[in-house]
Symmetry: C2
Subunit: 192 residues, 2 copies
């Protein structure tokens, strides 16, 4: 999606070969009009898949997932990063480990909100190693729901996330696909 | 706002005198169409205040804050609950302690996204003891910005959050104001 590529080129900051900061329009400050266009485009791409729910992992995926769910006229589910007091019964849980960050967290889903009849689109801001997305898939499969696809704002194609998902037969659609980065330089797949 | 009161009455669950679960439409599963109406109403209420940014605390406030920011055509800022690797320079930070939950977390804001010229509307899902909101206010004041108001989906009027904010001269607007709760029974201020 040219609009997002141009925004990344103008406002994103490549710190090195693997870290891209998009704090000014996606992660910390959000440009609502841009985010609406991105959410709508994800929704349009998956419009004919019979999707019944859009799910995301808190918290950077909430904005695009919400606007995608609005486009598809379906509920949006936030997969929680830790069990809270008010969410302690009938939970599905899985551990997600980020090897790059050296951290682990527990991802949780109430059994009330996704069931075996659901076709779930997973939306997130980044796809890199695919740890969060594969954790979300494990969790949603515990509810015996169908994974309808994974919609991503920014994919780092030089990391193995897409491969892991496609090997499970899951369609991945990313709005901006980064082929490679160096300090202050970003190349997209369409140009690579 | 009658629409939200009715939704809380039909789908909210009062566990006891202080805990209200709204997981099915606000916290865990989100109804996008309802959330859009709520965000728009918050935006309309504060439309003439010269607001330049909408800020929220991750993560339950992100959805209403995003839709409120969209209504006001201004950027939305997510105050982060912990410093992340990619956000480690030029940060404002404050500790927020939840006495009810017995937990503390560090709230952070990059100095790039809010400055002394900003008029900031804080949006969150709940107002109870006001710990999160007063933390957000401390943080935004470190950036020398003006607090334009606090917009809330659900206020527990029997807890002191509003009082703490109004004592600082801050306007609070809540879409649903709960006067009291008992197991399976919720009373709103308009009826109290």
């Amino acid at each position: 999606m040219r609009l997002l590529e141009e925004k990344i080129r103008s406002d994103g900051i490549a710190l090195d070969e693997s870290i891209l900061k998009v704090d000014s329009f996606i992660n910390h400050q959000i440009d609502p009009e841009l985010m609406q266009l991105l959410g709508e485009e994800l929704g349009r791409h998956f419009a004919d898949r019979g999707i019944t729910k859009v799910a995301t992992i808190e918290s950077s995926g909430i904005a695009p997932a919400l606007l995608c769910a609005m486009e598809l006229h379906v509920p949006m589910i936030i997969l929680k990063k830790q069990p809270s007091k008010a969410l302690n019964s009938d939970l599905y849980q899985t551990i997600v480990t980020s090897y790059t960050k050296g951290t682990s967290y527990e991802l949780t889903l109430s059994s009330k909100y996704i069931n075996e009849h659901d076709h779930v689109l997973i939306v997130d801001d980044f796809l890199a190693n695919g740890e969060a997305a594969t954790g979300a898939i494990r969790l949603i499969r515990k509810a015996h729901a169908t994974i309808a696809g994974v919609g991503i704002l920014i994919e780092k194609t030089f990391q193995p996330g897409r491969k892991k998902l496609e090997e499970q037969g899951i369609e991945v659609y990313a709005l901006a696909r980064i082929a490679g980065m160096q300090k202050d330089s970003i190349t997209f797949v369409s140009e690579a």
